[in-house]
Amino acid sequence: MLNKALIEDVLSAALTTGGDFSEVYVEDRFTNLMKLQSSRLEDSLSGRNFGVGIRIFKGLNSVYAFTNDFSRDGLLQAASAAAQAIQGTASNKNIVLPLEKQTVKPLHPIQLLPNSVDKTRKLAILRHANQVARNYHSSISQATIALSEEEQHVLIANSEGTYVEDTRVRSRFVVNAIASNEHDMQTGFYGPGRLQGFEYIEGLDVDYYAEEAARIAVTMLNADAAPSGKFPVIIDNEFGGVIFHEACGHGLEAAAVAKNNSVFANKVGEKVASDLVTYIDDGTITNEWGSINIDDEGEKARKNVLIENGILKGYLIDKFNARRMNEKSTGSGRRESYKFAPTSRMTNTYIAPGQSTPEEIIANTEYGIYAKYMGGGSVNPATGDYNFAVNEAYLVKNGKVDKPLRGATLIGNGAKTIQKVDMVANNLGHGAGMCGASSGSIPVNVGQPMLRVSEITVGGREAN
């Protein structure tokens, strides 16, 4: 992507003012987006993202510059502009170790690159999903089916001698269905994705996802408003894991922990969660949406146990925050693109399976809320206060699933909520999502088995 001699020159130019670490990140990414709406292909967009990010550390100072001027002059200029921010002088410590290419062992086999497949083959699948969603019920008034694919090539080199290249191929299939009657419109969504090529899309059970999206929309059209108050809440598997992504995951990222901006800071070895909670971030799961071969700082993907049987074991750490914390990287440095400096982020994060069955959890709940599909949410890492939406909810009465509910939002404090997990089932599942933070929007999986929290505040429209 760039030749080795030029990379070495850029790494050296970055250290001329006393920096003690420099890094070059080159990205060349091809994207395709096809969107079928109103039963016709409205968008077919192709693009190429290309640019270079240059990063310098000096102690706890960090400087980042990026450009898509990839000429020798352009890159050296960007490197020295960044170096100007560090006001020191070079010494014998400011050296670039010789670069020797390391081979990345791919953990995630890819068969069909997106650009090797004719778009008409892709369109046929979109059309099929559209038919399935629209045929589901007469109240389905609109369906949007999208396929997004990307092929990202990266080169990462740094002054410590790291010099690696990697290719990441991702495919995601998204179904949005709208159900409407004279006075209302409700939506249903399903968006499976993997770190895989077109073979994933071709093997996907499209009928299932299209029908589920349509079923959610129709169910919500006929749902009552959710009640307000504090209830036991049963959260189903797969994307249900978003609650712990928001409530705990972000607070375990070094970006928050290193500055003491997290309720989990300085608590390794302490009990922070219910005994039933084991929380893991694993970038190595084969072909999962949030998986990686190497992170965006060139570190190998790994499995990090964050909480084990309620005891805090560790954090997700990137190279810069590792300095502040006197720790090592955990392979968690990620970024959306060359336009962002990397920071500590999640990959595939999940609650490990427990002993109960889903049926037992429902049967053991006298009165509560069952959140079948979760929407997104957010958290303030400093306070741990989170919120998230339930896309499909039900009332649970006397151990049985009762009527559907709409408009339920769950709020609370992450550190408190994980102490209140009182049942965990054995049906672990993962769901794909996009996670936004200071280093941009990146693909992550959230996951969990079905579990129950003894009490969460539910905000609905039925104030009483």
Partner: protein, 450 residues
Amino acid sequence: MDINLFKEQLFTEGAKLGFSDLELYYEKQAGFGCQIFKGEIDDYVSATTIGVSVRGLYDGKMGYAYTEKIDKDSVAFLLENIKENSLLIEDDPEELFDGNATYKDRDFYSTSLSNVTIDKKIQLLRDAEKKIYEYDPRVVQTDYATIQDTMVEKALFNNKGLSLQDRNNFLYVVFSVVVKENDEIKSDFYFKLTKDIDSLNPEEIAKEAVEKSLSHLNGKTYPNKTYPVILKGSAAANLLATFSPSFSAKSVHDNQSRLKGKVDTVIASEVVTLIDNPFLEDGTRSGTFDSEGVPTKELTVVQEGVLKTYFHNLKTAKKDGVESTGHGHKPSYKDSIGVSPSNFYVKPGANSYEELFGTMEEGIIITSLAGLHSGANQISGDFSLAANGYFVKDGKIIGPTNLMTIAGNFFELLKDIEMVGNDLEFSPMDYYGYIGSPSLKIKGLAVTVD
């Protein structure tokens, strides 16, 4: 490669391949951002990037592609992909704008802002951060102490001779402060966007950021019920931003807007007037043409409660038999032409924020909302959102509440607006446009307190 050379190669090669029309959209962004933490430069970013997108008419059908790599290879990449995409697209035919129009002679680029040195920007951060720590012993630290300036240059060319250029620049600061008392941790932030760095005063920043954060300490719980609510300007702006796609004719045509069929009918209380002004001095979306090259103009979208028009681009306007309103914007060169506001806001009323809650017997003030990307259904208008704020009794703020949710429906809320404040604020969340509102007094919303 120089952009003019790139353009020429593109148009020449395109003609050879049989494209009848070609358009090149060019966007250049240059920016500087810095964050400090306890006096140290924690993050420092300088960047210049270019992106171009191309639309081309092949065999009467329009295709798109974009690139950030400006070289000879990309010319071939773009033309090949545009051709393949154009053959598949089944949407109504698009046309390129001939540019036969008058454009406002305005420049939104401030030379004095571009001349502000990096040292001066960093000094402002240091001064304000220092004042924040000095202001109150309950300040634990800052979550963000950040400055960012951005310059955007846009240009549009086609092979029929159209050639347009716009530029804009602005600077913003964010100071988010974490405070702690006993075991309770709270945070809030100061945000301001401006072209005049001298309008940012470190003492005022510290006062506002710290007092806002402290004001949430010692929260209490209150009964869950429907209360009269005041949405502070920035919270109201975030809510309007979230539901702004409903005002687009594209959403209406796609059956994704509840405003379908509502032009010239009452959709809001008579105190509500909504304006889109592409010529605001400090607007991040100010410009003289949209992404299709259509001249922008000031537009009253809702007048005293009556919906006057949707936002249109060329395609939606043609379908409705009206003129484009100059809202054929694309969020970036990576996107296709959509329909979105420029600088869109609720017209300020006469009363101050204090006068708004002074009229309340019992009610809730909402200072901020969270979860807008998940807890709001953009199509139905239903929302159930996490919120922070205060409890009001007999016209006085009693104190902060614990974390709340407020639930309602945006389209019902528009009709329930009883008073509009005079304190117009713009939302920092600007994906849909630069969107603002003064504080709004709402008849009632369902409130749940943790």
